[in-house]
């Protein structure tokens, strides 16, 4: 039995997950059950960061992966983000890296850049 803290929302329910059956107890909502089971089998995280902006007084643009990606690939995602150079205009949600590090997730802008 693995003890986890759910990260889906700020409540932070203390979960117990059966390592054989992946059954979850202690969750206050269905998303918690999904998180608990997944965290043991295939832990995923959303990665947030910034990208280099050129041609502007603004130096960095905040970005995120548009879905949680495998935890083990976080640094690979960061490496690809480090190579991006972006110039305006960019709108929230614009894809800056498609299928980042082979995760099927995209890196998208979280702020408008004029």
């Amino acid at each position: 039995m693995k003890e986890l803290i759910c990260i889906t929302c700020p409540k932070g329910c203390h979960l117990k997950v059966d390592e054989q059956t992946f059954a979850v107890t202690g969750n206050a909502c269905p998303r918690g059950a999904a998180y608990g089971a997944n965290e043991l089998r295939n832990p995923v995280r959303v990665v947030t960061s910034t990208v280099v902006v050129t041609g502007s007084e603004i130096r960095r643009l905040p970005v995120k992966t548009d879905r949680p990606i495998p935890k083990g690939k976080m640094f690979a995602v960061m490496e690809e983000i480090a190579r991006v150079r972006v110039t305006g205009p960019v709108r929230v949600g614009d894809v800056l890296i498609a299928n980042v590090a082979g995760t099927e997730g995209n890196v998208v802008a979280t702020k408008n850049l004029p």
Partner: protein, 418 residues
Amino acid sequence: MFDYELIVIGAGPAGLAAALAAHEKGVRRILILERDNQAGGILNQCIHNGFGLHFFKEELTGPEYAGRFVAMLAGTTIEVRTDTMVLELEQNRTVHTVSPLRGYERITAGAVVLAMGCRERTRGAISIPGARCSGIFTAGAAQRFMNIEGYMVGKRVVILGSGDIGLIMARRMTLEGAKVLACVELMPYSGGLNRNIVQCLHDFDIPLYLSHTVTDVVGKDRLERVVVSKVDENRRPIPGTEMVFDCDTLLLSVGLLPENELSRQAGVQIDPRTNGPVVWENCETSIPGVFACGNVLHVHDLVDYVTAESQRAGRAAADFIQGRLPQGQEIRLENGSGVGYTVPQHFHRDTDKLEIFFRVRAIYHNAAIRVMDGDTQLARFRREHMAPGEMENITLPKVLLDRAQHDTLRVEIEEAAQ
């Protein structure tokens, strides 16, 4: 005739929500004054996610959350002046501002909303001994360097304080290639959300030392190492427990202080428990027509609550401008056993329902929140888990408030029977 019906000081999430709420209630001449060169406040540098789960039912990053409110300004008559500093607020709601474009001006207002946010507690505030080498930053200042300007502040990092800002920076610095050696927390529990302990420390195997603090800082020019000691139940360092960390950066996440310089100068009554203004249930301060919301009122954990509170303040400002004043005798709220403070600190008896926000002083499991009217229990709420790092709230409906006999109600914690 005032220059503006409403002036809002600060275009962070609090100011934006308050202005939009007032506009929705029909106030038209609204001016938001912002010292930075963009609206959004501290959210601009909070590039991580976790915002908006309550308000938008979506998980957003800080910039996205702020962006939603900035977008809502379009189509309203709300003016935002950036690069503008408020130097003084007078009791008659005249605001003194200065900016490169417009110079020094005095602007009169029908109502004012204070939304200046807060500042970080410094090294001096907790008198950390040791050298005054470079490499010691408050976590928020380091966050600004990294996320807005794009600079790394160091390579080997120790973080003092396990509040959310410290935890977030532990992850951020690790992802950008720094080595975070430890997170050190004075109290026997973390001040931050559990999800952040997981995502920011556990994920990267960063050790968390509870009941520890930094007792020495060593470095001739730049920081070279810090000494961390365990503390006893009185939070005094225990000799002999010293650990040395070779590092070049110390981030301090040791508390936030509401930024009430303007409020104090204007004569607004400040509550020493929150370091924010004493307010009524509608967020009005001790100066009629001056309202406060967001971190300037009390330090929040969730921006969603900031938005809700600020909407309340904005609507109340609109009521004031439009001549609808709250009625009823004053009832004061006292904090009893286990409760650090309440916001509001007093309310009008005839109010429809009363939402009370408060923080507890310790961690509680299966405890109850009691609202006492003298010796009579007016209301009781069970809670499985409460912690100082998580702001609590309870709602008292009018039917309960009508039963109050005394002019003071006490909010207290009743621990679980052993």
